[in-house]
């Protein structure tokens, strides 16, 4: 995988290609192999792994199991095209877990 050794993009070819152009490592995957790839990246030396938010439902369990591990940090980014906004949903879940109320939209 050419590119950065510290930041990786996990997603489809359309998503990873432009990031590869600005020096990020690209891990091309699809819905069938995304979990495998995520586990692999989780054991690697990357500090941040940005993944396409469309894969969040498939990675949810894995991310929960990772729990308090700091590196690599898995962060969802919007997928190419319109789809479910899982990144926002994930944030709302986190906030609700922390303070018991969903203040994500009321905050501003």
């Amino acid at each position: 995988m050419p590119g950065s050794t510290e930041i990786c993009i996990l997603g489809s070819r359309e998503l990873t290609e432009p990031f590869r152009g600005v020096g990020l490592a690209a891990a091309i995957t699809d819905a069938d192999s995304v979990l495998e790839r995520a586990v692999e990246l989780g054991q690697g030396s990357y500090k941040i792994v940005f993944y396409a938010e469309e894969y969040y439902p498939l990675l949810r369990e894995f991310l929960l199991r990772r729990g308090g591990g700091v590196f690599p940090t898995f962060i969802p980014i919007p997928s190419v095209g319109d789809g479910e906004r899982y990144a926002t949903q994930r944030l709302r879940e986190l906030i609700k877990k922390a303070i018991g109320v969903d203040v994500y939209w009321e905050a501003k």
Binding site: F19, R20, V22, F71, L91, I95, A98
Partner: protein, 205 residues
């Protein structure tokens, strides 16, 4: 629920000490919980603004990239982006927020993004990569903030469980046991006094 201890003065002293420590711990944990919650509110504000900015910028960049691919041979675009001369590195560290180990990232970008020939590639490709390059730092910052929020949320859950355990189980149990021992001791004292009075009466008689 009363604790299973002997009703002695020694146990009473021990329990009083435990009660003082538990009350102090409860207060400290509650303060910690409040501070963590304050941190969450600050993080939510920051993340909300940052995420919107990053998502908007990425959507625009993706649209431009799609145009670039559509305008020229996709293989050319693929080759153009396959060996970038930009080097992105991050200085990763950790900092502590109320005993929560949160990550810190300092991105460092070196080199030029345009390392391909302009003849066969579309102008949209330049613009899309430029937009992508511009948003990278914000993406790294977003990663730092979101991970911190995740860790703080977990710590809040843990702390809340501890506060509740102290508030509803440990402190009430100790208080109940202290009250029981006090009653038992005063009862024993009354028994002793009565016994002494009775003995005195027998000696006199």
């Amino acid at each position: 629920m009363r604790l299973n201890v002997n009703a002695t003065r020694m146990e009473l002293l021990k329990l009083r000490r435990r009660s003082a420590i538990a009350t102090r711990g409860h207060k400290l944990l509650k303060d910690k919980l409040e501070e963590l919650m304050r941190n969450v509110y600050l993080l939510v504000d920051e993340i909300q603004a940052l995420r919107k900015e990053v998502e908007d910028a990425l959507r625009k960049a993706f649209a431009r990239y799609a145009q670039a691919v559509a305008q020229r041979d996709p293989r050319v675009t693929d080759i153009a982006t396959s060996l970038p001369s930009v080097k992105l590195s991050i200085e990763a560290g950790t900092r502590r927020i109320l005993n929560v180990k949160a990550p810190t990232f300092k991105p460092k970008l070196e080199g030029r993004i345009r390392c391909y020939g302009f003849l066969e590639t579309s102008g949209e490709l330049d613009l899309s990569l430029q937009a992508m390059y511009a948003v990278l730092e914000k993406m790294v910052l977003l990663a730092e903030k979101e991970k911190t929020l995740e860790l703080v949320a977990e710590e809040i859950e843990r702390t809340r469980r501890r506060v509740n355990a102290l508030e509803y189980i440990v402190i009430p149990n100790i208080t109940e046991t202290i009250a029981f021992i006090k009653l038992k001791l005063s009862e024993m004292e009354r028994g002793n006094l009565t016994r002494l009075m009775r003995i005195k009466e027998i000696i006199r008689g």
